[in-house]
Each structure stands twice: as structure tokens, then as C-alpha cells.
């Protein structure tokens, strides 16, 4: 990662050490987690210090009866899920890079989400409290340990999707859900054209899919995941198969690992994450020069891998369709814009950055070309 060449790394192991690390250094800081999204969004400008959060690990408190857990932000979500699993609980979240060891804080900061977002949303919908450290060493808590809470501004939302440019996430409190007793996935061979219509039929019926994704591999397939009770699920799966016709068939659960592989992309291309009105996704994707694609036809979130020279055009096409796009993985030194045309509330984004990090210490370049240098 070019921006961190020649920088010093600090690895705090508690909240106080995070604050000290911010106060005891001067100049720009890159906040790093497990490194699974180190090059997402805008290219990082050179920094003096890398604040490595992977030492901030472990569950602070888990209240199974309340279905909440407080965890240090550098904890890999995968490890947290393992710890919760004996209680029959989990964080209802399945972004592709969880399997690669992505940290809770990193997943919040990058606003990542997987197919489960159709029902449970992204981490913005699951985080109920945060402790953050600002560039001046302020330590602020927002939210709390209860699921229902409207006291004060929701600081978690400021950090969700902030890509390490607004503050350090030190602790995160999450709401939990019961692990479903049974799960099954039905696949239908289906090109992109026609996938939207199929998806609409599923969403329009009483089937309550837990995930609904179109994937580009094997000539295109529509994947429908159902979750529920052991006794009742088979009947619902049967109704879906009837709806989709004889080509629809149960498929092994490893189909979701393949889905995650497509979302990660390969080393050669550039990966673009897209959000758009769900019914517009098939048409939008048909106009992008993707090599591989996944499309949440209920959620409106898509991930495509493009040739490097197709990124700028793709940003523009997504914007024209009323959507949003952010660049993820791409070849080193590709020099591609992380973001498309500026969002309408850019002035608010800039003002927030100015209030919370007036010297532009955290994650310089992450919101380039929207925010350049000090805000």
C-alpha cells in the first residue's frame, strides 16, 4: 500500500492506548484492521503513522438474554461468531471478507454487507453503540447497550462508511439474532435478462427469502436462500421451486462461498460496489463492462469486477441511474477514482470532516476526489 510506505506502526491493545497513540503522534494516520479492505475507496495519501487496530480484540460483555454483545473493534467478526455460536446466536451479517478475518471495526468503517442485508440490513442496522477516538484524542461514546435507544445523536452512523477518515472505532456494541434452525438454497439457471422479473415474483409472494442474489458464474444463476424452522422450511422451499419451474433445484450451501469469491474479485480487475434501485440493477449492469458480477435483486447492492479502463465510465453510468458507487480492490498504482460524481450532501460531509478532524489527520485521500487535503 503506497500511502503507508515508510510510516511507523503502532498497535494499541486498549482504549487508553488508542487515545495515547493519537495524542502522541503528529501528522496523518492510517487506521488499519486486518487489511482485507486496505485499498478500498480513494487512494491513501502518504501517512506518518499506521494505527493497527488488530490488538484491540475480545468480547467485553455478552448478554445472551438481552441478545447484545460489546466487542473491541479489532476483533475478527469470524472469531466473534465462533464465540457466540454455542449460545445459538450470531451477528446477522455475511459480508464476503468475514471469512478472510475482517475486523468488526473494519466492516463498520467500510459499510460492507453481504446477501443477508436483504433482511437484516448492513452493520448500520445492527450496531447499537460505539466508542470512538477522534483526531484530537477525544473519546466519545454514542448509543448504548440496549437495542431501542434514541438518546443523543447516533455516532455509529457517522463512522459507518467513513473508511477510517473520521475517527477510530475502538469498541462496538451489536445486537444479535438467533441462528436459524434450518437454511436451504435454491438455484435457478438464469441470465441477467429475466432475473429481475423472477426476483420480483419471489419478492411479491409470501416466501420471505433470507437472501436473493443473481450471480454471473455458470452462465448466470439466481440464488434464493430460505431460513426458518426445520419442520416448516421444506414446504416453503417446495413452493419456491414450483414458482420457478423445473430448472430450479436445491444447491449445496458452498454456493455462498462462490458468491463471496465473486464479490472479492481477482487481482487483475477493479472491483466496484454499486447501490441502486433494485429494479434498475439488471439494466444498469447490462451497460457495464463487467467480467463477473453479483446483484442483490431485492437489496439493490451489486458488486462487479471490471477492466481497469472501465471504472470511470462505470462510476458515471451508476450515477446517471441514480445509484452510488465506490471502488474496492484494484491493481496497485492503477490511479483510479474511488468515488463517482459528488453526492448532493457533499457540503455536509466536508463540514463533518472539518468538525471531527479539522487537520485532516485520519485517512487522507480516502474521500478523494470529494475531499482533498485538509477539509
Amino acid at each position: 500500500m503506497s500511502g503507508t510506505t515508510g510510516s511507523t506502526s503502532v498497535r494499541p491493545t486498549d482504549l487508553k492506548a488508542v487515545r495515547d497513540a493519537v495524542l502522541d503522534t503528529a501528522g496523518p494516520i492510517a487506521i488499519a484492521g486486518a487489511g482485507t479492505a486496505a485499498d478500498w475507496a480513494g487512494d491513501l495519501d502518504p501517512v506518518d503513522t499506521v494505527l493497527d487496530t488488530t490488538g484491540l480484540t475480545g468480547v467485553i460483555t455478552h448478554n445472551p438474554g438481552d441478545m447484545t454483545v460489546a466487542v473491541r473493534a479489532g476483533t475478527p467478526l469470524r472469531a466473534l461468531q465462533d464465540e457466540l455460536s454455542p449460545h445459538g446466536q450470531h451477528v446477522s451479517f455475511d459480508a464476503a471478507r468475514v471469512a478472510d478475518g475482517a475486523t468488526v471495526g473494519g466492516l463498520v468503517a467500510t459499510a460492507d454487507a453481504g446477501p443477508a442485508a436483504l433482511v437484516f440490513g448492513s452493520l448500520r442496522d445492527l450496531v447499537i453503540g460505539v466508542t470512538i477516538v477522534l483526531a484530537d484524542g477525544s473519546v466519545a461514546r454514542g448509543g448504548g447497550h440496549v437495542i431501542k435507544n434514541v438518546a443523543g445523536y447516533d455516532l455509529a452512523k457517522v463512522l459507518h462508511g467513513s473508511y477510517g477518515a473520521f475517527g477510530v472505532l475502538a469498541e462496538v456494541v451489536l445486537r444479535l439474532h438467533p441462528v436459524p434452525r434450518a437454511s436451504t438454497t435454491i438455484a435457478l439457471p438464469c441470465p441477467l435478462e429475466g432475473a429481475g422479473e423472477r426476483a420480483a415474483r419471489i419478492l411479491g409472494g409470501p416466501y420471505e427469502p433470507a437472501a436473493l442474489e443473481w450471480v454471473s458464474d455458470d452462465g448466470g444463476r439466481l440464488l434464493v436462500r430460505l431460513e426458518g424452522t426445520r419442520d416448516a422450511l421444506p414446504a416453503r422451499a417446495e413452493r419456491i421451486r414450483e414458482l420457478l419451474g423445473p430448472e430450479a433445484a436445491d444447491t449445496p450451501d458452498d454456493v455462498w462461498e462462490r458468491h463471496a469469491g465473486l464479490v472479492r474479485g481477482s487481482a487483475e480487475g477493479a472491483v466496484l460496489r454499486i447501490g441502486a434501485r433494485p429494479s434498475r440493477l439488471p439494466d444498469l449492469l447490462s451497460r457495464l463492462r463487467w467480467r463477473t458480477a453479483t446483484a442483490g435483486l431485492g437489496s439493490g447492492a451489486a458488486t462487479v469486477e471490471l477492466p481497469v479502463d472501465a471504472v470511470v465510465e462505470a462510476h458515471g453510468l451508476v450515477h446517471e441511474a441514480g445509484g452510488t458507487s465506490v471502488l474496492r480492490r484494484r491493481p496497485d498504482g492503477a490511479g483510479l477514482p474511488g468515488w463517482g460524481p459528488p453526492l448532493s450532501a457533499l457540503a455536509v460531509l466536508t463540514a463533518l470532516k472539518r468538525e471531527l478532524d479539522p487537520e485532516g489527520r485520519f485517512g487522507p485521500g480516502r474521500f478523494s476526489p470529494w475531499i482533498q487535503g485538509a477539509p
Binding site: 438474554g65 440496549v146 434514541v150 443523543g152 473508511y163 411479491g204 433494485p278 447492492a301 452510488t324 455536509v348
Partner: protein, 484 residues
């Protein structure tokens, strides 16, 4: 009248002059919201007809440093829409069009003055509905719901307003018009929509809202169960959760609340029972049936004394009528009452109810309890008689209950908001650096401090120079959280 003629004329140019109300008698109608203990008559009331007029009005405010307060239906219970002296009220009552219902993408685009229930009414022909359902849903507006991040009985399973709003068109306090959020859950950069939602009218005025709609569930099953104690009812909730069931709603009422509700609407609740639970499940029919049997069995295991299962839509509606009528019905058993709103971790419900009963006894006042048991959101109703001089004692008890919730690891508010009512209690829940960070967020949206000033965050003017000594949070004392 301290707003001079120049400012008034500027408003009259920005709007139709007939939509600028300066008559004191008419302005008085806007002096309070649902929290009637606080009253301030605004200098002017503005009744814009569209987003452009809202923006024009706010630009005049910005130019002349006039504080403004946005108002929907005025049903808020925390004084969030309390006018500011020398300021104006901007009513969104005339922005009440449903602009779009899209059954394929399951979303609706509405103006802020549309009521919560009107959204569901517009969506219903497509088999869709809008999930958040505050008890005031017949009259409260979606703009107010956005400001308060309103919940409701069904938010246990489906979440709050923040989980159902995709985007808001917003007039910022400088009069500019921006869109926060987009057509999908994916947002570019920080979740500004999420910051705005629940900001209690302090960051701007929303003029257009895109909400998600859900498909009406295939099956809904509702039961009403009586229990010999609040603890037994609480244990049922714990066991339902432990069984991996996420009910659509779990509500509890105590003897006093039932007495009041029965007097008002005769919904078929049992008079004298120490606790009644309403449990509702929804979803695909087969799954719903399996889980409903489990819930019935759990109720019976905990000594349920009566189990009434809604056998028809009418019976289901009756159960909900009793629950939703409880607040207003308390007026039948007490001349005056305060509605409180606090949250505790669900597993501490029995403990907090015991403490509330003790506190009520000490104060010599009755407290009726209605609450969303599934998520630990309490609504204690402190009964008193102003004529008997009990107001101050009741107000003190009500405030002490909210702060007790914080002590038990919960929150000052689950859905009614901080507003005017609890701004001075915020230091009980948040430290100075927390509040200062929130002030910085506010300042990013409203550097001039003219947008609903005096709400949410404590100020020296409002709360005295020392807004209460900071006491360590219970979680801090338990070593769960640390404050540096």
C-alpha cells in the same frame, strides 16, 4: 413582537403572505406539542406548501439569524417541537402528498406531513405496509417519525424508523436542499441519512422521504395471556427469546394500566390480573404455527391464568385497541399523569419494575406500567392530581425513573426522544466528551445554531452552569465500559 417588519416581509415574500401567521391567538395553537407542560408562543408560524417554500423560509431564517422549529402533527412527547421565543415555527402540515408507491421495489416516496398510517393505506392495495407503528400512528406524521426515529410495538422484529427510511430530502439550516441517502441501503460514504434520522429536528427539515415497504405477512397470530406476577410474564419473554423465536411484538401491561384501558375501550382484558402479555408472531404460515404452539406452551409453563387467542381480525384488533388505548385511558383513573419513556436491558425488567413500585410507594403516587417487554422499553405512567398539589412530586418521580433506567445500563429514551424534556438529564447518560462530540456533529449541519435550538443537548442556559454532576455509568462501575 421582536421580529421586525423587515423579517416578516421577507417571510411574506418567500411564502404566500396568507401563509405567514402572526396573529397571537392563532400562534398560540402552536405553543406546545404532546408534552403540554412546556409552552412558548412563537413569534410567527409559517405554513409552506412545498419544499421550495420551506427552503425559502429557512433561507430567510439563516439570513436574519431567526431560530426555527419544524413541526408535524405536534404529537411528540418530549417537547421536541416546543417553539423558541423570538423564533418561528415551520409547519409541514401542508406537505402531505404521497408522491409514489412502487410495488416492485417496495418503496414509497412521501412528503413529511403524510401520517404514518396513510403510508400503509397507500401501500395496502399492493399487499405492502410500512412497518414502524408508533401508538399515535393515526395522526403522527412521517416527518415527525423521521425526527424522532419512532419505534412502535412491532419494532422488536422489524426495527425503527431508521431501518425503514432509505433517503430524505432535507432543507439544511442554511436553506440549501440536499438528499441524504439513496434508493438502496448502500450509501456513498458516512451514513448521513442515519445521522439525520432521530436528530429531533436539530439538523434540518426533511421535505421528502423514501421509505421501504414490507410485504404483508402471510400469517399473523396474536395471543393475550394473564400471569400471576410481572416476574412470571417476564420469564415467558425470556424463554420465548431463548427458544430462538423473534416475535413481531411482545407487550406487557400491569393491573393499573389494564384497569384504565378496560374502562376506556372494553377490549376484553382481565381486571385485577397482575400482568398481561400480548404476544404476536407473523411470517410464513407454517413457521408461524409451529412457533405459536411453542409460545403457548411457554405461557402455560409459567402459570398463565388465562390464555386468549385472537380467532379473527376483529379479535386481534380488540387486543391491540386495549394496548394502544392505555396511555390516553389513564386519564380515566387519574386527573393528571406523566408519560415516561425509558429503556433497560430486557433481562432487568422485573428488577426495574420492583424499584419503580418502591419509588412510587415512597412518593405516595401510583404508577401504571405499559411497556414493550421484548426490547425493555418502559412507559411508566405516573398518576397524580395537580389540584392536590402533587405535580412537583410526580415530575420528580417520573424523572427519577428515567434516570434509574440509565443506572441499570439502559437509556433515557427508547422512542419519545430527549427534546426539551430530558436535555438536562443527558449528562446522566453521556460524559462531557460524548456530548461535545455530538455538539460538533450538530455544528457541521447547523453552525449558526438556529435549527431547533435548546433541544437534545444540555445548555447552561437551560440547565444551569453545572448541568448536574457526572456520575459513573453503571456499566462503567461494573468495568464493562471505561471513560478516560
Amino acid at each position: 413582537m421582536t421580529l421586525d417588519g423587515v423579517v416578516r416581509r421577507a417571510f411574506e415574500e418567500a411564502l404566500d403572505p396568507r401563509d405567514v401567521i402572526c396573529d397571537e391567538v392563532r400562534c398560540r395553537a402552536y405553543e406546545c406539542d404532546g408534552l403540554t407542560g412546556y409552552r412558548v408562543v412563537p413569534e410567527l408560524v409559517l405554513l409552506p406548501r412545498d419544499a421550495a417554500q420551506v427552503a425559502a423560509a429557512v433561507r430567510v431564517c439563516a439570513e436574519h439569524a431567526v431560530p426555527f422549529v419544524a413541526r408535524g402533527a405536534g404529537t411528540g412527547l418530549s417537547g421536541g417541537a416546543l417553539p423558541v421565543a423570538d423564533g418561528v415555527v415551520i409547519s409541514l402540515a401542508r406537505l402531505k402528498r404521497v408522491l409514489e408507491v412502487d410495488p416492485v421495489d417496495r418503496l414509497a416516496v412521501v412528503e413529511p406531513g403524510v401520517t404514518n398510517l396513510e403510508i400503509t393505506a397507500a401501500a395496502a392495495p399492493h399487499g405492502l405496509y410500512y412497518a414502524p407503528d408508533p401508538s399515535s400512528q393515526q395522526v403522527c406524521t412521517i416527518g415527525g417519525n423521521v425526527a424522532e426515529n419512532s419505534g412502535g410495538a412491532h419494532c422488536l422484529k422489524y426495527g425503527f424508523t431508521t431501518n425503514h427510511v432509505l433517503s430524505c430530502e432535507v432543507v439544511l439550516p442554511d436553506g440549501s436542499l440536499v438528499t441524504l441517502g439513496g434508493d438502496s441501503g448502500e450509501q456513498a460514504g458516512p451514513d448521513l441519512r442515519g445521522v439525520f434520522l432521530g436528530s429531533e429536528g436539530t439538523l434540518g427539515i426533511t421535505t421528502k422521504i423514501t421509505v421501504r415497504l414490507l410485504r404483508t405477512p402471510e400469517s399473523v397470530r396474536t395471543l393475550l395471556a394473564d400471569f400471576p406476577s410481572v416476574t412470571a410474564a417476564g420469564d415467558v419473554v425470556s424463554d420465548v427469546v431463548a427458544a430462538g423465536i423473534v416475535p413481531a411484538a411482545v407487550e406487557m401491561m400491569d393491573t393499573l394500566a389494564i384497569e384504565a384501558a378496560e374502562q376506556a375501550v372494553h377490549a376484553g382484558y382481565t381486571l385485577g390480573t397482575p400482568a398481561a402479555l400480548v404476544v404476536e408472531l407473523d411470517g410464513p404460515e407454517a413457521e408461524c404455527d409451529v412457533q405459536f404452539e411453542q409460545v403457548k406452551e411457554i405461557c402455560e409453563r409459567h402459570g398463565c391464568t388465562r390464555l386468549h387467542i385472537a380467532g379473527s381480525a376483529e379479535e386481534r384488533a380488540a387486543i391491540w385497541r386495549g394496548r394502544k388505548a392505555a396511555f390516553a385511558a389513564v386519564g380515566r383513573i387519574s386527573p393528571d399523569y406523566f408519560v415516561q419513556d425509558g429503556v433497560v436491558p430486557r433481562t432487568r425488567l422485573a428488577e426495574v419494575l420492583g424499584r419503580i413500585a418502591e419509588m412510587g410507594d415512597e412518593a405516595g403516587l401510583r404508577v401504571a406500567n405499559v411497556f414493550h417487554a421484548g426490547d425493555g422499553n418502559l412507559h411508566p405512567l405516573v398518576l397524580y392530581s395537580a389540584a392536590a398539589g402533587e405535580t412537583e412530586r410526580a415530575e420528580h418521580l417520573s424523572g427519577a425513573i428515567a434516570e434509574l433506567c440509565v443506572e441499570l445500563g439502559g437509556s433515557l429514551s427508547g422512542e419519545h426522544g430527549i427534546g426539551t424534556d430530558k436535555a438536562c438529564s443527558m449528562p446522566k447518560m453521556f460524559g462531557e466528551e460524548d456530548l461535545e462530540t455530538m455538539r460538533r456533529v450538530r455544528s457541521a449541519f447547523d453552525p449558526a445554531g438556529i435549527c431547533n435550538p435548546g433541544k437534545v443537548l444540555p445548555t447552561p442556559r437551560l440547565c444551569g452552569e453545572r448541568p448536574g454532576r457526572y456520575r459513573p455509568h453503571a456499566l462503567e462501575e461494573a468495568g464493562v465500559i471505561e471513560r478516560l
